[in-house]
Point group: C2
Chain length 276, copies 2
Protein backbone atom coordinates (compact mmCIF):
# COMPACT_ATOMS: atom_id res chain seq x y z
CA UNK A 1 0.00 0.00 0.00
CA UNK A 2 1.04 3.56 -0.61
CA UNK A 3 0.89 4.70 3.03
CA UNK A 4 2.49 7.92 4.25
CA UNK A 5 2.94 9.39 7.72
CA UNK A 6 2.24 13.12 7.59
CA UNK A 7 4.35 14.95 10.14
CA UNK A 8 2.78 18.39 10.50
CA UNK A 9 5.31 20.76 12.01
CA UNK A 10 3.64 24.11 11.48
CA UNK A 11 0.55 25.40 9.72
CA UNK A 12 2.58 25.60 6.52
CA UNK A 13 5.23 22.87 6.59
CA UNK A 14 4.95 19.09 6.76
CA UNK A 15 7.26 16.15 6.16
CA UNK A 16 5.82 12.95 4.69
CA UNK A 17 7.42 9.58 5.31
CA UNK A 18 6.38 6.56 3.30
CA UNK A 19 5.84 3.53 5.51
CA UNK A 20 6.51 -0.11 4.78
CA UNK A 21 4.64 -1.15 7.89
CA UNK A 22 2.97 0.18 11.01
CA UNK A 23 4.47 -2.21 13.51
CA UNK A 24 2.79 -1.08 16.70
CA UNK A 25 0.37 1.62 17.85
CA UNK A 26 -0.97 2.29 21.32
CA UNK A 27 -2.43 5.16 23.30
CA UNK A 28 -0.49 5.60 26.53
CA UNK A 29 -1.62 7.84 29.41
CA UNK A 30 0.62 10.55 27.94
CA UNK A 31 0.67 10.28 24.16
CA UNK A 32 -0.02 8.21 21.07
CA UNK A 33 2.97 5.92 20.59
CA UNK A 34 3.81 4.16 17.33
CA UNK A 35 6.68 2.14 15.92
CA UNK A 36 6.78 2.21 12.14
CA UNK A 37 9.03 0.81 9.45
CA UNK A 38 9.89 3.59 6.98
CA UNK A 39 10.99 3.12 3.39
CA UNK A 40 14.42 4.65 3.75
CA UNK A 41 15.11 5.46 7.41
CA UNK A 42 14.64 2.07 9.06
CA UNK A 43 12.27 1.75 11.97
CA UNK A 44 11.20 4.88 13.80
CA UNK A 45 9.60 5.84 17.10
CA UNK A 46 6.65 8.20 16.56
CA UNK A 47 4.96 10.12 19.40
CA UNK A 48 1.78 12.05 18.58
CA UNK A 49 2.66 11.75 14.88
CA UNK A 50 6.11 13.36 15.27
CA UNK A 51 9.25 11.34 14.46
CA UNK A 52 11.37 11.01 17.60
CA UNK A 53 14.18 8.88 16.26
CA UNK A 54 14.98 6.73 13.23
CA UNK A 55 17.36 3.80 13.07
CA UNK A 56 19.31 5.41 10.21
CA UNK A 57 20.22 8.76 11.74
CA UNK A 58 19.61 8.35 15.49
CA UNK A 59 23.35 8.22 16.09
CA UNK A 60 23.74 11.93 15.30
CA UNK A 61 21.35 13.20 17.94
CA UNK A 62 22.32 10.64 20.57
CA UNK A 63 26.06 11.10 20.13
CA UNK A 64 25.79 14.88 20.29
CA UNK A 65 23.52 15.09 23.34
CA UNK A 66 25.63 12.55 25.26
CA UNK A 67 29.30 12.85 24.29
CA UNK A 68 29.59 16.64 24.51
CA UNK A 69 28.89 16.76 28.29
CA UNK A 70 30.59 13.41 28.91
CA UNK A 71 33.79 14.70 27.30
CA UNK A 72 33.72 18.10 29.03
CA UNK A 73 33.58 16.38 32.42
CA UNK A 74 36.98 14.83 33.20
CA UNK A 75 35.55 11.83 35.05
CA UNK A 76 31.76 11.32 34.89
CA UNK A 77 30.64 8.61 37.32
CA UNK A 78 26.96 9.26 38.07
CA UNK A 79 24.69 10.34 35.22
CA UNK A 80 21.00 11.25 35.17
CA UNK A 81 18.93 11.14 31.98
CA UNK A 82 15.47 12.77 32.03
CA UNK A 83 13.31 11.32 29.27
CA UNK A 84 15.27 9.37 26.70
CA UNK A 85 12.87 6.46 26.78
CA UNK A 86 14.17 5.10 23.47
CA UNK A 87 17.47 4.29 25.20
CA UNK A 88 19.81 5.89 22.63
CA UNK A 89 21.30 8.45 25.02
CA UNK A 90 21.67 5.77 27.68
CA UNK A 91 23.56 3.54 25.22
CA UNK A 92 26.03 6.35 24.48
CA UNK A 93 26.59 7.28 28.15
CA UNK A 94 27.27 3.65 29.04
CA UNK A 95 30.21 3.60 26.62
CA UNK A 96 32.30 5.34 29.32
CA UNK A 97 34.08 2.99 31.73
CA UNK A 98 34.11 5.73 34.37
CA UNK A 99 30.31 5.56 34.66
CA UNK A 100 29.09 3.38 37.51
CA UNK A 101 25.39 4.32 37.43
CA UNK A 102 22.95 5.93 35.05
CA UNK A 103 19.52 6.83 36.41
CA UNK A 104 17.03 7.19 33.56
CA UNK A 105 13.77 8.87 34.57
CA UNK A 106 11.04 8.39 31.98
CA UNK A 107 7.42 9.35 32.61
CA UNK A 108 5.94 6.89 30.10
CA UNK A 109 6.94 3.29 30.72
CA UNK A 110 5.25 2.19 27.50
CA UNK A 111 7.86 4.11 25.48
CA UNK A 112 10.62 2.04 27.07
CA UNK A 113 8.71 -1.20 26.62
CA UNK A 114 8.00 -0.53 22.94
CA UNK A 115 11.58 0.55 22.19
CA UNK A 116 13.04 -2.48 24.00
CA UNK A 117 10.82 -4.72 21.92
CA UNK A 118 10.97 -3.04 18.49
CA UNK A 119 14.14 -0.89 18.42
CA UNK A 120 16.78 -3.22 19.89
CA UNK A 121 19.85 -1.43 18.49
CA UNK A 122 18.75 1.85 20.06
CA UNK A 123 17.55 0.46 23.37
CA UNK A 124 20.45 -1.94 23.99
CA UNK A 125 21.62 -0.07 27.11
CA UNK A 126 18.56 -0.97 29.16
CA UNK A 127 20.00 -4.42 29.87
CA UNK A 128 23.26 -3.00 31.28
CA UNK A 129 23.65 -3.52 35.05
CA UNK A 130 24.62 0.12 35.50
CA UNK A 131 21.30 1.34 34.07
CA UNK A 132 18.68 2.15 36.72
CA UNK A 133 15.26 2.82 35.20
CA UNK A 134 12.84 5.00 37.16
CA UNK A 135 9.30 5.44 35.85
CA UNK A 136 8.35 8.85 37.18
CA UNK A 137 7.69 12.43 36.18
CA UNK A 138 11.14 14.02 35.75
CA UNK A 139 9.89 17.25 37.35
CA UNK A 140 8.97 15.38 40.51
CA UNK A 141 12.14 13.29 40.49
CA UNK A 142 14.51 16.25 40.43
CA UNK A 143 12.66 17.90 43.35
CA UNK A 144 12.92 14.83 45.53
CA UNK A 145 16.15 13.06 44.58
CA UNK A 146 18.91 13.04 47.16
CA UNK A 147 21.87 11.71 45.20
CA UNK A 148 24.23 13.97 43.28
CA UNK A 149 25.22 13.68 39.64
CA UNK A 150 28.20 14.60 37.47
CA UNK A 151 26.17 14.91 34.28
CA UNK A 152 22.42 15.43 33.74
CA UNK A 153 20.97 15.06 30.22
CA UNK A 154 17.46 16.27 29.40
CA UNK A 155 16.46 14.15 26.42
CA UNK A 156 12.88 15.31 26.02
CA UNK A 157 10.38 15.40 23.21
CA UNK A 158 9.15 18.75 21.88
CA UNK A 159 7.82 21.28 24.42
CA UNK A 160 4.18 20.31 24.04
CA UNK A 161 2.20 17.82 26.14
CA UNK A 162 4.19 16.02 28.86
CA UNK A 163 7.51 17.71 28.03
CA UNK A 164 6.58 21.39 28.31
CA UNK A 165 7.86 21.96 31.87
CA UNK A 166 11.16 20.31 31.00
CA UNK A 167 12.16 23.59 29.32
CA UNK A 168 11.45 25.78 32.38
CA UNK A 169 13.88 27.73 34.56
CA UNK A 170 12.45 26.09 37.67
CA UNK A 171 13.36 22.66 36.34
CA UNK A 172 16.89 23.78 35.54
CA UNK A 173 17.21 25.20 39.06
CA UNK A 174 16.27 21.83 40.56
CA UNK A 175 18.86 20.15 38.35
CA UNK A 176 21.47 22.70 39.42
CA UNK A 177 20.91 21.54 42.99
CA UNK A 178 21.32 17.89 41.99
CA UNK A 179 24.66 18.43 40.29
CA UNK A 180 28.03 18.11 41.98
CA UNK A 181 29.97 21.37 42.20
CA UNK A 182 31.63 20.61 38.85
CA UNK A 183 28.49 19.18 37.24
CA UNK A 184 27.19 19.71 33.70
CA UNK A 185 23.72 19.63 32.13
CA UNK A 186 22.73 19.28 28.47
CA UNK A 187 19.30 19.68 26.95
CA UNK A 188 17.87 19.21 23.49
CA UNK A 189 16.88 22.72 22.44
CA UNK A 190 14.88 22.32 19.21
CA UNK A 191 15.48 23.87 15.79
CA UNK A 192 16.74 27.47 15.73
CA UNK A 193 15.15 27.73 12.26
CA UNK A 194 11.67 26.52 13.25
CA UNK A 195 11.52 27.12 16.99
CA UNK A 196 13.85 30.05 17.63
CA UNK A 197 11.78 31.13 20.63
CA UNK A 198 12.18 27.76 22.41
CA UNK A 199 15.87 27.72 21.57
CA UNK A 200 16.34 31.23 22.99
CA UNK A 201 14.29 30.42 26.11
CA UNK A 202 16.41 27.34 26.89
CA UNK A 203 19.54 29.47 26.71
CA UNK A 204 18.17 32.30 28.84
CA UNK A 205 16.81 29.93 31.48
CA UNK A 206 20.16 28.13 31.74
CA UNK A 207 22.05 31.41 31.75
CA UNK A 208 20.18 32.82 34.75
CA UNK A 209 21.03 29.79 36.87
CA UNK A 210 24.43 28.40 35.82
CA UNK A 211 27.76 30.26 35.75
CA UNK A 212 28.42 29.00 32.22
CA UNK A 213 25.81 28.41 29.52
CA UNK A 214 26.21 27.78 25.83
CA UNK A 215 24.52 26.28 22.82
CA UNK A 216 25.85 23.98 20.15
CA UNK A 217 24.53 22.78 16.81
CA UNK A 218 24.29 19.61 14.78
CA UNK A 219 22.55 18.55 11.59
CA UNK A 220 19.96 15.83 12.27
CA UNK A 221 18.35 14.97 8.90
CA UNK A 222 15.19 13.39 10.33
CA UNK A 223 14.35 16.40 12.54
CA UNK A 224 12.53 19.35 11.03
CA UNK A 225 14.95 21.61 9.11
CA UNK A 226 17.89 19.36 10.05
CA UNK A 227 19.31 22.29 11.98
CA UNK A 228 19.28 21.19 15.62
CA UNK A 229 20.42 22.90 18.81
CA UNK A 230 21.49 21.68 22.21
CA UNK A 231 21.92 23.74 25.35
CA UNK A 232 24.73 23.08 27.79
CA UNK A 233 25.12 24.56 31.27
CA UNK A 234 28.11 24.04 33.49
CA UNK A 235 29.03 24.89 37.07
CA UNK A 236 32.76 24.93 36.48
CA UNK A 237 34.18 23.48 33.25
CA UNK A 238 34.27 25.41 30.01
CA UNK A 239 31.75 23.52 27.82
CA UNK A 240 33.18 24.44 24.43
CA UNK A 241 35.85 21.77 24.32
CA UNK A 242 36.61 18.31 25.67
CA UNK A 243 38.62 18.08 28.90
CA UNK A 244 42.37 18.16 28.29
CA UNK A 245 43.80 14.82 27.25
CA UNK A 246 40.40 13.12 27.10
CA UNK A 247 40.01 10.71 24.18
CA UNK A 248 36.57 9.83 22.81
CA UNK A 249 35.41 6.23 22.84
CA UNK A 250 35.97 4.43 19.54
CA UNK A 251 33.35 3.68 16.91
CA UNK A 252 31.50 7.00 16.96
CA UNK A 253 30.07 8.20 13.65
CA UNK A 254 29.35 11.89 14.32
CA UNK A 255 31.18 13.05 17.46
CA UNK A 256 34.86 13.89 17.49
CA UNK A 257 36.65 16.43 19.69
CA UNK A 258 37.00 18.64 16.59
CA UNK A 259 33.24 18.38 15.91
CA UNK A 260 32.71 19.29 19.58
CA UNK A 261 34.53 22.61 19.14
CA UNK A 262 33.06 23.30 15.70
CA UNK A 263 29.51 22.73 17.00
CA UNK A 264 29.85 25.75 19.30
CA UNK A 265 30.62 28.13 16.43
CA UNK A 266 27.32 29.91 15.83
CA UNK A 267 26.25 31.76 12.69
CA UNK A 268 25.39 35.41 13.44
CA UNK A 269 21.67 34.85 12.83
CA UNK A 270 21.64 32.15 15.55
CA UNK A 271 23.75 34.30 17.88
CA UNK A 272 21.21 37.06 17.40
CA UNK A 273 18.36 34.80 18.60
CA UNK A 274 20.25 34.46 21.90
CA UNK A 275 20.66 38.21 22.30
CA UNK A 276 16.98 39.02 22.17
Amino acid sequence: MNVWLSEEHTAGYAVHWRLRDIIHVEQTPYQELAIVDTHEWGRALILDSIVQTTEVDEFIYHEMIAHVPMMVHPNPVKVLIIGGGDGGTLREVLKYDSVDRVDLVEIDKQVIEACRKYLPTISAGFSDDRANIIIQDGLKYVKEAECKYDVVIIDSSDPVGPAVELFSAEFYRDIYELLHEDGIMTVQAESPAFYGDVFARVYHNMNTIFPRAGVYLACVPSYVSGFWAFGIASKQYHPERAAAGRKPVTGLRYYTTDIHQAAFVLPPFVQKLLER
Copy 2:
Protein backbone atom coordinates in the same frame (compact mmCIF):
# COMPACT_ATOMS: atom_id res chain seq x y z
CA MET B 1 -7.52 27.56 -0.31
CA ASN B 2 -5.58 24.86 1.42
CA VAL B 3 -2.96 24.37 -1.31
CA TRP B 4 0.30 22.50 -0.74
CA LEU B 5 3.35 22.00 -2.92
CA SER B 6 4.54 18.41 -2.61
CA GLU B 7 8.30 18.21 -3.00
CA GLU B 8 9.05 14.56 -3.65
CA HIS B 9 12.71 13.89 -2.89
CA THR B 10 12.81 10.12 -2.94
CA ALA B 11 10.34 7.27 -3.22
CA GLY B 12 9.80 7.49 0.52
CA TYR B 13 10.33 11.09 1.61
CA ALA B 14 8.52 14.30 0.69
CA VAL B 15 8.31 17.82 2.05
CA HIS B 16 5.01 19.70 1.79
CA TRP B 17 4.89 23.49 1.70
CA ARG B 18 1.61 25.32 2.13
CA LEU B 19 1.22 28.08 -0.44
CA ARG B 20 -0.45 31.46 -0.07
CA ASP B 21 -0.26 32.03 -3.78
CA ILE B 22 1.14 30.64 -7.02
CA ILE B 23 2.55 33.83 -8.46
CA HIS B 24 3.92 32.61 -11.75
CA VAL B 25 4.30 29.32 -13.65
CA GLU B 26 5.83 28.72 -17.06
CA GLN B 27 7.39 25.88 -18.98
CA THR B 28 10.82 26.91 -20.24
CA PRO B 29 12.85 24.92 -22.81
CA TYR B 30 14.66 23.35 -19.83
CA GLN B 31 12.27 22.99 -16.92
CA GLU B 32 9.00 23.95 -15.28
CA LEU B 33 9.60 27.23 -13.48
CA ALA B 34 7.37 28.61 -10.74
CA ILE B 35 7.46 31.44 -8.25
CA VAL B 36 5.26 30.78 -5.23
CA ASP B 37 4.45 32.59 -2.01
CA THR B 38 4.78 30.13 0.89
CA HIS B 39 3.09 30.46 4.28
CA GLU B 40 6.25 30.74 6.34
CA TRP B 41 9.29 30.97 4.06
CA GLY B 42 8.43 33.99 1.93
CA ARG B 43 8.50 33.68 -1.82
CA ALA B 44 10.36 30.75 -3.37
CA LEU B 45 11.76 29.73 -6.75
CA ILE B 46 10.58 26.24 -7.73
CA LEU B 47 12.11 24.27 -10.63
CA ASP B 48 10.42 21.00 -11.61
CA SER B 49 8.60 21.04 -8.24
CA ILE B 50 11.82 21.28 -6.19
CA VAL B 51 12.44 24.34 -3.98
CA GLN B 52 15.58 26.13 -5.20
CA THR B 53 15.63 29.04 -2.82
CA THR B 54 13.31 30.76 -0.33
CA GLU B 55 13.42 34.39 0.75
CA VAL B 56 13.68 33.40 4.41
CA ASP B 57 16.75 31.15 4.35
CA GLU B 58 18.44 31.85 1.00
CA PHE B 59 21.18 33.79 2.79
CA ILE B 60 22.64 30.60 4.27
CA TYR B 61 23.27 28.83 0.97
CA HIS B 62 24.32 31.95 -0.91
CA GLU B 63 26.70 33.19 1.77
CA MET B 64 28.34 29.79 2.12
CA ILE B 65 28.81 29.07 -1.59
CA ALA B 66 30.20 32.59 -2.21
CA HIS B 67 32.13 33.84 0.80
CA VAL B 68 34.18 30.70 1.45
CA PRO B 69 36.08 30.91 -1.90
CA MET B 70 36.03 34.73 -1.92
CA MET B 71 37.71 34.79 1.50
CA VAL B 72 40.27 32.08 0.69
CA HIS B 73 41.46 34.07 -2.30
CA PRO B 74 43.43 37.12 -1.10
CA ASN B 75 42.26 39.40 -3.92
CA PRO B 76 39.48 38.08 -6.19
CA VAL B 77 38.98 40.35 -9.20
CA LYS B 78 37.34 38.21 -11.92
CA VAL B 79 34.63 35.76 -10.90
CA LEU B 80 32.62 33.26 -12.94
CA ILE B 81 29.28 31.89 -11.75
CA ILE B 82 27.81 28.90 -13.61
CA GLY B 83 24.06 28.70 -13.04
CA GLY B 84 22.89 30.87 -10.16
CA GLY B 85 20.03 32.33 -12.19
CA ASP B 86 18.25 33.56 -9.05
CA GLY B 87 21.08 36.04 -8.52
CA GLY B 88 21.77 35.31 -4.84
CA THR B 89 25.35 34.15 -5.36
CA LEU B 90 25.99 37.12 -7.66
CA ARG B 91 24.70 39.50 -4.97
CA GLU B 92 27.15 38.06 -2.42
CA VAL B 93 30.17 38.11 -4.78
CA LEU B 94 29.49 41.75 -5.67
CA LYS B 95 29.90 42.72 -2.00
CA TYR B 96 33.70 42.61 -2.53
CA ASP B 97 35.24 45.88 -3.71
CA SER B 98 38.12 43.95 -5.27
CA VAL B 99 35.75 42.42 -7.85
CA ASP B 100 35.71 44.22 -11.18
CA ARG B 101 33.69 41.72 -13.21
CA VAL B 102 31.39 38.79 -12.58
CA ASP B 103 30.39 36.66 -15.55
CA LEU B 104 27.20 34.73 -14.80
CA VAL B 105 26.46 31.94 -17.28
CA GLU B 106 22.90 30.66 -17.00
CA ILE B 107 21.36 28.29 -19.52
CA ASP B 108 17.75 29.34 -18.89
CA LYS B 109 17.12 33.06 -19.37
CA GLN B 110 13.58 32.70 -18.10
CA VAL B 111 14.93 31.88 -14.61
CA ILE B 112 16.75 35.21 -14.53
CA GLU B 113 13.73 37.08 -15.88
CA ALA B 114 11.36 35.56 -13.34
CA CYS B 115 13.72 36.13 -10.41
CA ARG B 116 14.38 39.74 -11.43
CA LYS B 117 10.66 40.33 -11.53
CA TYR B 118 9.44 38.37 -8.50
CA LEU B 119 12.44 37.93 -6.15
CA PRO B 120 13.98 41.40 -6.07
CA THR B 121 15.94 41.03 -2.82
CA ILE B 122 17.69 37.92 -4.16
CA SER B 123 18.28 39.15 -7.71
CA ALA B 124 19.44 42.68 -6.81
CA GLY B 125 22.94 42.11 -8.21
CA PHE B 126 21.78 41.83 -11.84
CA SER B 127 21.59 45.61 -12.08
CA ASP B 128 25.21 46.10 -10.95
CA ASP B 129 27.52 47.38 -13.72
CA ARG B 130 30.09 44.72 -12.88
CA ALA B 131 27.61 41.89 -13.59
CA ASN B 132 27.89 40.44 -17.09
CA ILE B 133 25.06 38.02 -17.88
CA ILE B 134 25.66 35.34 -20.50
CA ILE B 135 22.76 33.11 -21.56
CA GLN B 136 24.52 29.94 -22.60
CA ASP B 137 25.12 26.33 -21.60
CA GLY B 138 27.83 26.44 -18.92
CA LEU B 139 29.45 23.32 -20.37
CA LYS B 140 29.94 25.06 -23.70
CA TYR B 141 31.03 28.34 -22.12
CA VAL B 142 33.88 26.83 -20.14
CA LYS B 143 35.21 25.03 -23.24
CA GLU B 144 35.31 28.21 -25.30
CA ALA B 145 36.02 31.07 -22.90
CA GLU B 146 39.38 32.77 -23.22
CA CYS B 147 39.52 34.96 -20.11
CA LYS B 148 40.89 33.73 -16.81
CA TYR B 149 39.18 33.82 -13.42
CA ASP B 150 40.22 34.02 -9.80
CA VAL B 151 37.10 32.28 -8.50
CA VAL B 152 34.58 30.02 -10.27
CA ILE B 153 31.34 29.10 -8.49
CA ILE B 154 29.10 26.30 -9.77
CA ASP B 155 25.68 27.19 -8.42
CA SER B 156 23.63 24.48 -10.09
CA SER B 157 20.35 22.79 -9.42
CA ASP B 158 20.28 19.08 -8.55
CA PRO B 159 22.11 16.69 -10.91
CA VAL B 160 19.08 15.80 -12.99
CA GLY B 161 17.92 17.45 -16.21
CA PRO B 162 20.06 20.35 -17.45
CA ALA B 163 22.49 20.26 -14.50
CA VAL B 164 23.73 16.66 -14.68
CA GLU B 165 26.97 17.34 -16.56
CA LEU B 166 27.84 20.15 -14.15
CA PHE B 167 28.98 17.47 -11.71
CA SER B 168 31.36 15.73 -14.13
CA ALA B 169 35.16 15.52 -14.02
CA GLU B 170 35.36 16.82 -17.58
CA PHE B 171 33.57 20.01 -16.58
CA TYR B 172 35.89 20.51 -13.62
CA ARG B 173 38.87 20.01 -15.94
CA ASP B 174 37.64 22.78 -18.22
CA ILE B 175 37.23 25.05 -15.22
CA TYR B 176 40.74 24.21 -14.03
CA GLU B 177 42.02 25.56 -17.35
CA LEU B 178 40.00 28.76 -16.93
CA LEU B 179 41.39 29.54 -13.49
CA HIS B 180 44.46 31.63 -12.80
CA GLU B 181 47.34 29.72 -11.25
CA ASP B 182 46.03 30.56 -7.77
CA GLY B 183 42.36 30.11 -8.67
CA ILE B 184 39.61 28.48 -6.62
CA MET B 185 36.37 26.69 -7.53
CA THR B 186 33.33 25.91 -5.34
CA VAL B 187 30.37 23.75 -6.19
CA GLN B 188 27.11 22.94 -4.44
CA ALA B 189 27.44 19.24 -3.62
CA GLU B 190 24.00 18.14 -2.41
CA SER B 191 23.03 16.47 0.87
CA PRO B 192 25.46 13.89 2.29
CA ALA B 193 22.46 12.35 4.07
CA PHE B 194 20.23 11.99 0.97
CA TYR B 195 22.67 12.02 -1.92
CA GLY B 196 25.91 10.64 -0.49
CA ASP B 197 26.88 9.25 -3.90
CA VAL B 198 26.67 12.67 -5.60
CA PHE B 199 28.55 14.28 -2.74
CA ALA B 200 31.32 11.66 -2.95
CA ARG B 201 31.52 11.95 -6.74
CA VAL B 202 31.96 15.72 -6.59
CA TYR B 203 34.86 15.28 -4.19
CA HIS B 204 36.55 12.54 -6.21
CA ASN B 205 36.18 14.43 -9.47
CA MET B 206 37.70 17.57 -7.94
CA ASN B 207 40.43 15.58 -6.26
CA THR B 208 41.67 13.98 -9.48
CA ILE B 209 42.13 17.39 -11.12
CA PHE B 210 43.07 19.96 -8.47
CA PRO B 211 46.06 19.86 -6.08
CA ARG B 212 43.75 20.65 -3.15
CA ALA B 213 40.15 19.52 -2.74
CA GLY B 214 37.88 19.65 0.26
CA VAL B 215 34.28 19.67 1.33
CA TYR B 216 32.46 21.84 3.81
CA LEU B 217 29.02 21.73 5.40
CA ALA B 218 26.19 24.04 6.30
CA CYS B 219 22.63 23.64 7.53
CA VAL B 220 20.13 24.94 4.97
CA PRO B 221 16.65 24.40 6.46
CA SER B 222 14.74 24.55 3.17
CA TYR B 223 16.90 21.93 1.45
CA VAL B 224 16.15 18.26 2.01
CA SER B 225 17.60 17.06 5.35
CA GLY B 226 19.03 20.53 6.02
CA PHE B 227 22.47 18.94 5.89
CA TRP B 228 24.15 20.53 2.86
CA ALA B 229 27.62 20.08 1.35
CA PHE B 230 29.83 22.21 -0.84
CA GLY B 231 32.95 21.12 -2.68
CA ILE B 232 35.96 23.40 -2.97
CA ALA B 233 39.01 22.88 -5.18
CA SER B 234 42.06 25.08 -5.18
CA LYS B 235 45.21 25.34 -7.25
CA GLN B 236 47.29 26.91 -4.51
CA TYR B 237 45.60 28.29 -1.38
CA HIS B 238 44.56 26.10 1.50
CA PRO B 239 40.73 26.24 1.36
CA GLU B 240 40.02 25.52 5.00
CA ARG B 241 40.48 29.05 6.27
CA ALA B 242 40.21 32.65 5.11
CA ALA B 243 43.37 34.31 3.77
CA ALA B 244 45.49 35.85 6.53
CA GLY B 245 44.24 39.25 7.65
CA ARG B 246 41.17 39.15 5.42
CA LYS B 247 38.03 40.58 7.05
CA PRO B 248 34.57 39.55 5.86
CA VAL B 249 32.18 42.16 4.54
CA THR B 250 29.73 43.43 7.14
CA GLY B 251 26.10 42.45 7.48
CA LEU B 252 26.43 38.71 6.87
CA ARG B 253 24.04 36.46 8.76
CA TYR B 254 25.66 33.01 8.44
CA TYR B 255 29.29 33.36 7.29
CA THR B 256 32.08 34.32 9.65
CA THR B 257 35.74 33.28 9.45
CA ASP B 258 35.09 31.00 12.44
CA ILE B 259 32.12 29.40 10.64
CA HIS B 260 34.44 28.97 7.63
CA GLN B 261 36.86 26.84 9.63
CA ALA B 262 34.13 24.98 11.52
CA ALA B 263 32.36 24.08 8.27
CA PHE B 264 35.34 21.98 7.19
CA VAL B 265 35.20 19.78 10.28
CA LEU B 266 33.50 16.60 9.06
CA PRO B 267 31.74 13.98 11.16
CA PRO B 268 33.31 10.53 10.66
CA PHE B 269 30.26 9.21 8.76
CA VAL B 270 30.67 12.01 6.19
CA GLN B 271 34.44 11.49 6.01
CA LYS B 272 33.74 7.83 5.31
CA LEU B 273 31.60 8.71 2.28
CA LEU B 274 34.67 10.43 0.81
CA GLU B 275 36.90 7.41 1.37
CA ARG B 276 34.78 5.00 -0.64
